[in-house]
């Protein structure tokens, strides 16, 4: 091979290496945000850590398939949710089998009934603890929880969540609607248990 053909090759390799390093740094910079979502998609910290390692290993291997300028956080979470599904962590597959949930005002009404003194929103929300929220979230069936976690915790748009989970946007909206209600029902149970309103 002559010097003239080798030089562009060397330049291409250097560019490639630089792009890869940049990609890896960008992906690692998002790890806290990706982990926050992962932590609440699965039941335990160990599972979340396994998922993170699988996701980053795959991402670093497949970095060329990421299109620069698109949403890297969404791309990483798409890999992560696919692993989560592939590893059979989901047991509850049929949304139709879920119990009927209460309306949107259910949680407020329940907490208000259990609150002494002022019933403004600040006092009512104080009936809830951080643990109530975390425990309640883990009780939401996976199909619904995925959407609630991506939109309400991950701050993804409906469109991003649809792309990450590979489901239609209408399904995102209906699962979000039901998922939030199931979450509130679970929070009410955690916070005030069987007390009646």
């Amino acid at each position: 091979m002559s010097e003239t053909t080798r030089e562009p090759d060397a330049r291409r390799l250097a560019t490639d290496a630089r792009d890869r390093v940049r990609f890896e740094e960008d992906a690692l910079a998002l790890s806290d945000q990706v982990y926050r979502v992962a932590r609440h998609l699965v039941g335990s910290r160990e599972e979340a850590e396994d998922l993170m390692q699988e996701t980053y290993a795959r991402a670093f291997r497949s970095w060329r398939s990421f299109q620069p300028g698109t949403n890297l956080r969404a791309w990483l979470l798409r890999i992560l949710t696919n692993f989560n599904i592939d590893r059979g962590r989901r047991q509850q597959r049929s949304p139709d089998m879920q119990p009927l949930e209460e309306g949107d005002y259910f949680l407020y009404n329940k907490l208000e009934a259990a609150t002494d003194g002022p019933t403004d929103e600040e006092h009512v929300v104080e009936r809830l603890s951080q643990n109530d929220v975390v425990a309640a979230l883990s009780e939401v069936p996976h199909d619904f929880r995925d959407v609630v976690v991506l939109v309400d915790i991950g701050d993804f748009t409906y469109a991003d969540a649809a792309q990450i989970l590979d489901i239609p946007i209408g399904t995102v909206m209906s699962r979000l609607h039901r998922g939030r209600r199931i979450l509130k029902q679970a929070m009410a149970e955690e916070a005030v248990g069987g007390e009646t309103s």
Binding site: Y56, D104, Q130
Partner: protein
């Protein structure tokens, strides 16, 4: 009577309203109801407070240090 209950309707559209996905007309209707109805307004304010609370409740956990190290080790070695 049709049995239309404006508070039940407001409850139905509360989440899409907060997600800013209602049409202009639907949004105006929801806001008009919230302006005149203390019952729904109180619940709307609670829902806003609740969203922030839920977000804060689950946001406290960063990537554990040992996991961060494992992720760093997955990087392609520099040649």
């Amino acid at each position: 009577m049709t049995g239309y209950d404006p508070c039940a309707h407001c409850e139905e559209v509360m989440q899409p309203y907060m997600d800013r996905v209602l049409t202009d007309a639907e949004r105006a209707e929801a806001e008009a109801h919230l302006d005149e109805c203390a019952y729904c307004r109180k619940r709307y304010r609670f829902e806003e407070t609740l969203r922030v609370f839920v977000r804060q409740a689950v946001r406290s956990e960063p990537v554990p240090v040992d996991l961060k190290q494992k992720l760093l080790e997955l990087r392609t070695p520099l040649e």
